[in-house]
């Protein structure tokens, strides 16, 4: 027996909604720029509010702007089963990263509403604030603060690169509510559907990724201090921060490629942001700062990568007469997802006849923070070429529909469908 497929889920309606909301912040190259706490974010939130209320959901907004829709269950003593993801995007983001998970959840609610189906446990649908972290760092602020990983005060005080303050921007766009974000720690279960942002599913010809765990991630920050030298000064006497940064960036790539598990899986490492001082045409720089993200299946190898980066930095510093500081910025431990919920997802894919495989997520998601406090899991659907955080991010309507049907089935398995 299926739990969810007898409600009138519509892949076409989900697709239409994805295309409709993508117009808000739509870019010429077919992507989306709807960064958190911008006017466009407010427009996206308003559209989502209309859609949610149209299928009978009740909206609550918390002090960090997280949008939480509730649908009552028959048994008010049961903890709610939640579906969530995010509507914010990268500056050059796509149409599906985050949005698919929110709108697939909306489609589940719409179908339940149309069918008049009641669940035993209440259902919740969440749009988390600032998952991307592109404008205000770090990412996944809304879920992280709700789960007690960050304090509300620190989140509200964050500034963007222009100096705008998170709390002020949240108030400015009119989406600061009064609910306590920590109340979400009382959810009974959390499901998040997301595009894979990798190529494993597409390459393996699978429609569904059953996500069993989140890989450990380690973010570092590097500061190189040398001395300014005129572009015409002799090569020998220089303490050039640029010439120290270049071999370290090269080494970071090699270190990731060489951190291989017995099964042959390498690590991942990326320098994503970098600043140069004084950034002047005729002056070899005295200071360079950059961010490093490292990830690995194997927490021991992840720690080894950080050690290797520090050792390489020390060697470069000694050779080049500069100082290099490698500071810890953020660490996300290895996080297993809840076996019961993972089982619901695997069973749903099996029942619905979708080709599926178990896999980890190498990418941070709101579900990873949620999983630290309550049972949570994720469902992946493929995306073309693994391309994401890119305007050319793309999926097929069939992939979106498969993910949405598995989500519905697993959520209803967790919440229980009330008999009429």
């Amino acid at each position: 027996m299926t739990n969810g497929t007898n409600i009138p889920l519509s892949g076409a309606r989900l697709w239409d909604s994805l295309m409709e909301i993508a117009k808000i912040g739509g870019t010429a190259k077919g992507g989306c720029n709807r960064q958190t706490l911008t006017d466009l974010d407010a427009q996206g939130r308003a559209l989502f509010q209309r859609w949610g209320e149209a299928c009978g959901l009740k909206l609550s907004v918390d002090r960090l702007g997280n949008m939480v829709f509730t649908r009552p269950g028959r048994d008010p003593s049961r903890k709610a089963v939640a579906i969530g993801s995010h509507l914010d995007t990268q500056p050059t983001g796509g149409k599906y990263d985050g949005i698919l998970g929110v709108l697939a959840g909306l489609e589940v609610m719409r179908a339940l509403h149309e069918a008049g189906t009641e669940t035993e446990a209440p259902l919740v649908l969440i749009n988390w604030t600032n998952e991307e972290g592109a404008r205000f760092s770090p990412p996944m602020m809304g879920s992280g603060a709700a789960m007690g990983i960050f304090t509300e005060a620190e989140i509200l005080a964050k500034t963007d690169s222009e100096g705008a303050v998170f709390g002020a921007e949240l108030a400015r766009i009119g989406w600061q509510g009064e609910a306590d974000p920590a109340a979400l720690q009382d959810l009974g279960a959390y499901f998040e559907l997301h595009i894979e942002q990798g190529r494993l599913l597409e390459d393996a010809g699978k429609e569904i990724g059953v996500v069993t765990q989140a890989l450990a991630q380690n973010w570092l920050e590097v500061t190189i201090e040398g001395a300014e030298s005129h572009g015409g000064s002799p090569m020998a006497g220089r303490r050039d921060a640029m010439m120290a940064a270049a071999p370290l960036i090269q080494a970071i790539e090699s270190i990731a490629l060489n951190a291989v598990t017995p099964a042959g899986d390498p690590g991942r490492a990326t320098v994503g942001r970098l600043t140069v001082y004084p950034d002047s045409r005729n002056i070899a720089p005295s200071r360079i700062w950059f961010s490093i993200d490292t990830r690995h299946h194997d927490p021991a190898l992840l720690a080894q990568m950080a050690d290797d980066i520090r050792a390489k930095a020390a060697a470069i510093a000694a050779t080049r007469g500069v100082t290099i500081t490698v500071a810890d910025f953020w660490y996300s431990p290895h996080t297993p997802f809840d076996p019961t919920l993972v089982g619901h997802v695997r069973d749903a894919a099996e029942r619905l006849g979708y080709k599926h495989m178990d896999m980890p997520t190498a990418i941070g998601h709101d579900a990873v923070y949620v999983a630290r406090k309550l049972p949570a899991t994720m469902i992946f659907c493929p995306c073309h070429g693994g391309i994401s955080h890119n305007e050319s991010e793309s999926i097929t309507p069939e992939w979106a529909e498969a993910g949405m049907r598995v989500l519905a089935d697993a959520v209803l398995a967790a919440a229980g469908v009330a008999r009429r």
Partner: protein, 412 residues
């Protein structure tokens, strides 16, 4: 006969001149065509006329103070530099070269002697470019590399007037053609090094063999963006590609036996977000070499490396040369006369190129030219704390004086 150059008189004159536009902290602010600049010019004129020179002013405000030779049909041997400073300048940058030339003439005058060819002390207008950009434009126009009209139209960085208007208001505009300077038989410029080499090596003077050719470029590396959780194998990370180019620049410079330099000075990432693989990186770089053919070879090496990186990493690497200057070798005969004079005076010297622009680099494209460096403490310049020792000043004079007199045909 031997002419006695008076190092103490030169030192005194340097510090007398430094009172004009003096600032707290020992520095000098003598921006082009300001009252301080005019006062410095008037002082130089008075000193030079007292030593038997006659003044000519050209249409761009450069001063030519000529001490006649015994055969004034011969082209003059010029000795010069500049009296203007940057707003936070020191006492010696430029002024040393002008006043060292003055001391040669004073010594001749005091001895009642003349060289065969005339000697011309030059104070080039607006060498620094601090008020009217670009720097060294008066000598550049004199050598026909830029036009007088372009120089006269340059706007004041601090106010609403042009170079031409400020020059006219200062009263130092003349009627001589700047291009007459192309008839110099030779040009010598003595200057503080503005670098660390001579002091570090304990040299008294440096024989400047020429100026670097410079090629500034923008290098754009285009990869593909993506989420940082994506597998390494599929990536086209523009920053990793760019870092290979940075290291290649250094390798190319180190492969020139010390004749070439390279720098990567600016780096901008797109999208420059912690969560994204950089898809596009723009790098600002410069290549320098004392030899033009070798500079061209460095450019060819960079192009080949860029193509190799582009192919191996499946990226775009585009190199766009945006500006630059040719390499200017100084005249071997003049350089040898400086070396001979330094040897004669028992001074420790070495050859070195100038990494910094000077009027002599414009002169050197048209007129046989040479430069002489004296050390300065810590390589510090364009700074109130710029400093030299009386011994370094004397060493420069002891080298420059005989070389100028020799080049001017000796004492008649």
């Amino acid at each position: 006969m031997t002419i006695r150059f008076d190092a103490a008189r030169l030192w005194d004159s340097l510090h007398e001149m430094a009172k004009i536009g003096a600032r707290d902290g020992g520095g000098v602010n003598r921006l082009t065509f300001t009252e301080a600049d005019s006062a410095a010019r008037a002082t130089l004129r008075a000193w030079a006329e007292a030593a038997g020179c006659t003044l000519a002013l050209d249409r761009l405000g450069s001063m030519y103070l000529t001490y006649a030779g015994t055969d004034n049909a011969l082209p003059p041997v010029a000795v010069g530099s500049h009296l203007d400073t940057v707003p936070t300048g020191g006492k010696y940058d430029g002024a040393y070269g002008v006043l060292a030339g003055l001391e040669i003439v004073r010594a001749l005058h005091a001895a009642g002697r003349r060289t065969r060819a005339p000697i011309c002390i030059v104070n080039w207008a607006n060498e620094e470019g601090a008020r009217f950009a670009p720097p060294m434009a008066a000598s550049e126009a004199a050598m026909g590399i830029t036009t007088e009209a372009a120089v006269l139209a340059a706007p004041d960085r601090f106010g609403g007037v042009t170079y031409g208007e400020a020059l006219a208001a200062s009263g130092w505009a003349g009627s001589a053609a700047p291009q007459d300077a192309q008839r110099f038989g030779a040009y010598f410029e003595t200057h503080i090094e503005q670098g660390p080499v001579l002091e570090r090596e304990g040299c008294d003077v440096g024989i400047v063999t020429g100026g670097y050719g410079v090629a500034y470029c923008t290098i754009t590396v285009t990869g593909r963006d993506g989420h940082i959780g994506g597998a390494m194998a599929d990536r086209r990370d523009a920053l990793v590609g760019a870092s290979e180019i940075v290291l290649a620049l250094e390798r190319i410079a180190l492969g020139t036996q010390g004749r070439g330099l390279a720098s990567a000075t600016r780096l901008a990432l797109e999208p420059d977000a912690r969560g994204n693989i950089p898809s596009r990186v723009q790098l600002v770089a410069s290549l320098r070499n004392i030899d033009q053919a070798a500079l061209d070879a460095m450019k060819a090496d960079l192009a080949a490396t860029a193509a190799e990186v582009a192919t191996r990493r499946d990226m775009g690497v585009a190199i766009d040369y945006v500006s630059g200057y040719p390499a200017v070798p100084f005249a071997p005969k003049l350089l040898q006369s400086l070396r001979d004079a330094a040897d004669q005076a028992g001074l420790k010297h070495r050859d070195l190129p100038t990494p910094i622009g000077h009027d002599a680099l414009h002169l050197g494209r048209v007129v046989p030219s040479a430069m002489l460096f004296i050390p300065c403490h810590g390589g510090l310049s364009h700074n109130p704390a710029e400093s030299i020792t009386p011994e370094w000043s004397a060493a420069g004079l002891a080298t420059l004086g005989p070389a100028v007199i020799d080049t001017a045909g000796g004492i008649a």
